[in-house]
Amino acid sequence: MTLLEVTLLTPLVGGLLLAFVGHRPIGGWINVAVSVVTFAASLIMALDVFAGGPQLTTGKLFYIDAFNVYLVALTAFVGLSTAIFSRPYMRHEVEIGRVTGGRLRLYHSMYQGFLFAMLLALSTNNLGVLWVAMEAATLTTVLLVSLYRTPESVEAAWKYFILCGVGIAQALFGTVLVYFAAEQKLGAGRDDTLLWTVLHASASSLDPTVLSLAFVFLLVGYGTKVGLVPLHAWLPDAHSEGPTPMSAVLSGLLLNVALYALVRLKMLVDASLHTHLAGYLMMGFGLVSFMVAGLFLHRQHDIKRMFSYSSIEHMGLMTYAFGLGGPLATFGALLHMTVHSLTKSAIFITVGHASQLAGTQRIDKIRGLIRTQPAVGWGLLIGTVAIAGFPPFGVFTSEFLLLTATMKAWPWLAVPLLVGFGVAFAGLFRHLHPMVYGEPPPGQKPVHANMLPVMLHLALVLWLGLAIPGFLARWFEQATLLISGASPL
Amino acid sequence: MDHQLTAWILAAVQTALFVAAAPLLAGWVKRVKCHMQNRAAPSLWQPYRDLAKLLRKDVVLADNASWLFRATPYVVFGAMLLAAAVVPLVAVDLPTDAIADVIVLVGFFALARFFTALAGLDIGTAFGGMGSSREMTIAALAEPAMLMAIFTLAMTAGSTNLSTAIHRVLEAGLVLRPSFLFALLALAMVAVAETGRIPVDNPATHLELTMIHEAMILEYSGRHLALIEWASQVKLMIYAVLIANIFWPWGIARVFTPEALAVGVTAIAAKLAGLAVILVVWETVLAKMRIFRVPPFLGFAFLLSLLGMLTHVVLETGG
C-alpha cells in the first residue's frame, strides 16, 4: 500500500528531520509542509478506499476500512491546520521567552512523532501494535505537556504519564487475554492470531467469559486515555498546561484514537458475547463522564481546563453513543467524532490567541475579546456556540441523532442527557459571556493571529450541520454498517 | 507382639538418644563458631561437663520463691522430653509418633514457655519480668508464623502427624514445591526466634539490656539450671531435626532393620552437622537486632508462611 506507506513514513521522517532543524524559523515551515504531504496522501487513500473497499496490506499488518480511513484523514487534516497555527504561535512563545530553542526542536519533532503514532494506531491490523502505538502516543506528548517547565506543567505531565501509563498497562493485559482466547480457538503457532481481521472473522467462537474479562480491562485501559470518569484526572491538567497546539491535538485527536481502539474491541466482544455487556459498560461510563464533566465545567477558573472538561463531556457522550449501539446512535457517534474534533481544535486555537492577548489563562482576567480583536472574539463565541450543540452546527445534528436513538431504546435516559446538555451549555456560556463581551482591561492590544484554520474548521462543522455531503454520508454509512451491523438509512 | 516390643524399645532408645545428643549438638555449634571467629574452641564434650558440674552444685533459692519456681525446671524438661519423643529422629512409624501431632508439639513448646515466663516473674526482680514480657511478645508473633508454615506442610502431606507427613514427602520423591520453600524459610526464621539465637537474642550474653531468655532464668542455679539449660539444648535440636527431617527426609529409617537404622543415624548426624554450620554462618554474619525490630522480623516470617500457604493453594492444587 504505497499511499499508506507515504502517510505513515512522512511524519516519521519529518520528525527525525525536525529533531535537527526544529529550532530554526524553517522548522515551523517544515512542520507545515510535512503535514501537507501527510494529509494529501491520506485524502487520496481515503478516496481510494471509499471507491474500492477495505484494503489489507501484504503481510496483513495494516488494514484500512471505512471506519479508520476517515479518522486517518481527519487526523491528518487537524494535524495540518494545527501545524499552520502552531508556526507563528510558537515563534511568539520563543520571542516572549517561554520556550527555548532546544525545546522548540523537541516540540516540532515530537509533534510529528505524535502524528505518526496516532496514524499507526489507526491503521494497524495487529492489536498488539495498536497498544504499542497508543503507548508511543502518550510517550511522545509527555515531555510536550511540561514544555514550559513551570511547576504546574511538570505536575500535569507527571500525572499524565503515570495515570495513562498505568491505565494503558491494563489495556495490555486485556490484549493478552484476547490473544489467549484467540489461541484457544485458533490454535497456537499461528502468526496472525492478534490480527483484528482474523479475530473479527472468528469472533463468535471465542470464549465469552475470557472476552468479557478482557473487555473490562480494555475499557479501563483505553478508557483512561479517552478520559472517562473516574479515570479522567490527568486530562484537564495535561490539556491545559501544555502549549496550545498540544491542547488542540490532544483534545481533538488522541481522544478519538483511543475511542476508536475501544470501539474496534467492542466489535469483537459483541460478536462473541450475545449479551450487551460491552454496550452497557460503555453506556454507563459514558453517561457518568458526560454528567460529571458538565457539572465540573461550572467550577473552572482556567479557560483551557474548562474546555478540557468539555472534551471529557463530549467523549463521554460518544462512548455512550457507541455503547448504545444500533445504526442511528453509531452514525451519530461517528459524526460527533468528526465535528467534535474540528470544533474543539478550533476552540483551542482561538483560546490560545485569547490567552496570548490577555496574557493569562484565567477566565476572570480575560475580558472584552470582541472589542480588542473581533476575529478572536467571534471565533470563540461561534466555537462555543458550536460545541454547546446549537443548530445549525454539526454537533447539534449528532446530538439530535443520539437523542432520537436514546428515545427509541431507553426513553428515560433522554432526561439525563437533556439535563446534561443544559448544564454544560449553562456552564460554558456563563464563563464565556464576560470573556467575550466584558470591558477590556486597559492596554490590551491585538496579537498576530492567523484565524484561517479556525474559520475553516468552523465552516466545515457548519456545512456538516446543514447538509452532510453525499460521499461523506455514504462513508459514515459504511462505517456504521461495519460497526453496528445495520444501515441507518 | 515382638515387633511391637521392638518398636517401643526403639522409641525409648530414640528419645534417650535425642536428649543425650542435644548437648553434643550445642558443643558442635560452639566449636564451629569459635573456628569461624578464629578463637580457640572448647572440647566437643564441654556441655556435658558443664551439665555435670551444675548437677553437683547446690540449689540457691530466693526467700520468696514459690512452688512454681521449683517445679518449672522439671515441667520444662518434661515437656521437651515429650516433644523429643514425638519428633522422628532416626526412624518413622514409631509408636510414640502417635502421641501428638505438630500442633500439640507447638503446644508443648508453649507449655514450657509459659512456665518459664511465670518463673521469671516469680521472684519479683526487674530482669525476670523484663525477660518474660519480651519472651511472650516474641512468642505471640512467632507462633502464628510457625502454625501457618505447619498448616502449609500439613495441607501438602494431608495430615498433621509428623510421621505421616514425612512418609508422604518421602514417597513423592524429589519435588520442587514453592510452598515448601517458603515454609522452610519461615520455619527457619521462627526457629531462630524461638531458640533465642542471633539476630533475635544472643545466647551468650549477660548484658542486661539485651537478654531475653537469659533474663528469665537468671535466678536459677544448681540442678534447676542444669535441667533448664539441657531443655533449651533439646529445643534447639528439636527445631533442627524438624527442619532437617521434614524438608530433606532421605535417609530416615522406615523399617527397623539394623542397616536402615545405621543409615538413619548417619543421615541425621550429617544433616544436623550441616544445619549447625549454616546456623553458625548466619549468626556470624548478622548482628543482633534491637528489640523493636524483632516484630517486623517475625512479621516477615509470617508473610513468608502466608505466601507458602497461598502458593500452595494457587500454584500446587488445581492440577
Binding site: V129, V132, D207 | -
Partner: protein
C-alpha cells in the same frame, strides 16, 4: 498429588514464579532506595529464568529471545539507569518512611487471593502446563499498583510502574507462551523510552519542586484551584500576568 506428577522443569517454573511474587512483596516493604532497585533487578532475573524454562519446556525458541530482551532491559539497563539517576539526584541513601508496612504486606496477600479468583476462569480454560501461574502474574501487576499507591517517592513509583510491566510480560509468557515477537519488541521499546523519560522527568521535578516527593505535587487539584481563587478575590487583579 497432581503437582508431584509434573516434570521437574515444570515444577521449577512454578517455584521461580513463586519467587517472582516474593520479590514483589520485598519491593512492597523495602523502604531503602538501593535495595529496592536491586529487588527489581532480581525480579527481572527470575522472570528471565522462568521465560527460558518455559521456552525449553514448551519448545518455543522465540521465548529465548524474549528472555534475553528481559535480561538486557529489566536486569541491566533499567536498574542501571535508575541507579545512576539515584546517585546523581543524591537520593541513593534515602529511606522512605513507610506508613504501616505490615498492613501493606497483608494487603498484598489479599491481592494475591483476589488475583486467584480473577484468574480462575482463564485457568480452567487453559491447557498450558504453566496455567497456574497466571494468577501469580496478575498478582504481580496488582502489587505493582499497590506499590505505586503506597509510595511517595517518585523513584519508588517508577519501580512500581516497571514492576507492572514485568507482571504483564509474565502474564503473556504463561498464558499464551509469549506475544508475537513484533509486539514484544514494541512493548520493550516503549518500556525503555518510558524509563528514559522518567529519568528526564525527575530532573524537571527536582528543578520545579525541589523534591521528589510526589505528595507535594498538589497545585493542580480542584480543591487547590478553588482555594487559590478564594485567596485572590480579595486583591486587586494585577495587569497582564
Amino acid at each position: 498429588m497432581d503437582f508431584a506428577q509434573l516434570s521437574l522443569y515444570n515444577q521449577a517454573i512454578i517455584v521461580f514464579a513463586a519467587l517472582v511474587l516474593f520479590t514483589s512483596f520485598i519491593m512492597l516493604a523495602q523502604a531503602r532506595m538501593l535495595p529496592l532497585i536491586f529487588a527489581f533487578a532480581w525480579q527481572g532475573v527470575l522472570l528471565a529464568i522462568v521465560t527460558a524454562l518455559v521456552a525449553f519446556v514448551s519448545d518455543h525458541p522465540h521465548l529465548y529471545i524474549s528472555a534475553a530482551l528481559t535480561v538486557a532491559l529489566k536486569v541491566f539497563l533499567i536498574p542501571w539507569l535508575l541507579y545512576r539517576l539515584a546517585v546523581r539526584l543524591n537520593i541513593h541513601y534515602d529511606a522512605e518512611a513507610l506508613r504501616h508496612p505490615s498492613l501493606l504486606l497483608l494487603a498484598g496477600a489479599g491481592l494475591v487471593i483476589f488475583s486467584y479468583y480473577v484468574a480462575l476462569p482463564i485457568v480452567q480454560l487453559s491447557g498450558l502446563a504453566t496455567r497456574n501461574t497466571i494468577a501469580v502474574s496478575i498478582a504481580v501487576v496488582l502489587i505493582g499498583m499497590l506499590l505505586m499507591i503506597a509510595r511517595k517517592k517518585a523513584v519508588a513509583q517508577v519501580i512500581g510502574f516497571m514492576s507492572i510491566e514485568n507482571g504483564l510480560f509474565f502474564s503473556a509468557v504463561v498464558s499464551t507462551y509469549g506475544m508475537p515477537l513484533i509486539v514484544e519488541l514494541g512493548v520493550a521499546f516503549d518500556v525503555l523510552v518510558a524509563a528514559i523519560l522518567f529519568g528526564v522527568f525527575f530532573f524537571h521535578m527536582r528543578e520545579s519542586f525541589d523534591t521528589l516527593d510526589v505528595d507535594r505535587l498538589t497545585r493542580l487539584s480542584e480543591v487547590h484551584e478553588a482555594l487559590l481563587v478564594h485567596e485572590e478575590t480579595g486583591k486587586q487583579p494585577p495587569d497582564g500576568t
